[in-house]
Symmetry: C2
Subunit: 281 residues, 2 copies
């Protein structure tokens, strides 16, 4: 079950109500994806302030319905309540014979990344900056920024990838708090040490992220590590089992905690220590 609350998880300045609905749905289903579960049905509970009328509510529901079709997870029930603040709470029900959890990573595993990280954070940074830059953008930069904004506005739960991971991985999590934090969650729950290798992660950074980060004057690797809301999946498992679309970004060792191994081979703690590494507060 996952809640999207106006002012906390979304801002209607930047999202249409259809996007609010679809986004909330994908965010909830992403948790199923990370467990390697097949979606069965969803329930939607809406708290609706008086300012949101019937037609606005229909647009929100249309966004949910489109996501439900896309993810083949019908909405089978729900609740509608008045309140002062708009919120969308989605319960996703799925089945899995061998559900993946955060606790299961073993020393010797690879760390896998499925999907892109950083795009959504770059898109949000662009929207927060007012959606303008000092100098005019060339066409490629405009496309890059638009791709990042699109990644933030319309994320996709990686349900099929999760099903592929289910038969291969030892542990998994979806990247909602940022890769650094979520890798830390895997390490803590599994009682092992996760080493993200900077060169491996850097090779996976999407060209659109690199270009958008030039516009934003931000470090792409930092955004990839700190930015959530892409709903990528991180998993660990044996090299031999690595499924399609899962890319190696590091390794699991005995020990505890999570770190980023820089190009020079030096480890930098991830999680709370990450911002010091990136040189930003």
């Amino acid at each position: 079950v996952d809640a999207s609350v106006e002012g906390v998880h979304f801002d209607r300045r930047w999202l249409s109500l259809a996007e609010v609905g679809a986004r909330a749905f994908h965010a909830a289903l992403s948790d199923l994806a990370a467990m390697g579960a097949r979606p069965v049905a969803a329930l939607s509970s809406l708290v609706v302030p008086p300012s949101v009328g019937a037609s606005a509510l229909r647009r929100l529901a249309a966004g949910q319905a489109e996501a439900a079709r896309e993810l083949r997870c019908p909405v089978v029930g729900g609740n509608l309540s008045r309140g002062r603040e708009l919120s969308v709470t989605t319960t996703a029900i799925g089945v899995s014979r061998f559900p993946l959890t955060r606790a299961g990573a073993r020393a010797g595993d690879e760390i896998w990344l499925v999907g892109a990280v950083g795009l959504a954070a770059a898109g949000l940074a662009w929207l927060r900056s007012g959606g303008t830059s000092r100098s005019p953008l060339d066409a490629r930069s405009r496309r890059a920024v638009a791709a990042c904004v699109g990644a933030w506005k319309r994320p996709t739960a990686l349900v099929r990838d999760g099903l592929r991971l289910a038969g291969a991985a030892h542990a998994a999590i979806d990247v909602s708090d940022g890769l650094a934090g979520d890798v830390g969650h895997l390490a803590e729950a599994s009682g092992v040490r996760l080493v993200v290798e900077a060169p491996a992660l850097r090779r996976l950074l999407p060209p659109a992220l690199l270009r958008a980060c030039e516009v934003l004057k931000q470090d792409a690797l930092s955004l990839a590590l700190s930015g959530g809301e892409d709903y990528a999946l991180v998993a660990t498992g044996p090299s031999i089992a690595r499924p399609r679309r899962a890319h190696r970004i590091g390794r699991v060792e005995k020990g505890s905690g999570a770190c980023l191994e820089a190009e020079d081979g030096k480890p930098h703690p991830l999680g709370s220590g990450f911002d010091h590494f990136s040189g930003r507060s």
Copy 2:
């Protein structure tokens, strides 16, 4: 899935946070009870304003946990989110081989009531009146009022009764909108006419309700028809199958709509027309 929103469904002037938690849980499970389902698990999604601290949150969760134990329905997951307004959204998962719905009532069925109606509404009316009366209350009146307030503060989902109805009834609903309205929902969904017989319903009014209504200067039958939040169950089924604790309060006929058949045999429409009948707006 069911939401309890502060200011809409509850008021912390009158409920402790433990009561808020337990009440929200029973309200959600009541929907399972009305479907004749056996509870399996629940998920709890909380939106918590900054004014509610960790210890207050623990009290709320303790109320949920107590209800979960009582109803044998463990909380297996949840979500915690910041927001401006306190809300508790509970998803209840249950199983039923032959789930009861609102659509299934047949002409020839009896209407059954399980549990009391009106007590919670009387309790809420008492709290709204400031919890005082012009003249001092005698001991019996005090007990009656306390019973009504207790019914409102600590409702119980009638899960076992729902399971008994599952093998016997054709349709069921829990009384959350008030008996009159919920009988109307059964009539509409089933495409039949439901006739609530005033003498039969009157015989079931609890003594505490009658006494509390004297104090409140309210008509007990009206409160029993209009008051929700008791989480009683209304069902229809054949006389021969009527289970324990289910009491006949009327009959199902061909036709449409719901009515109250008064002592003189005259029908009065229920639902929107009810307030006219009771003489109050």
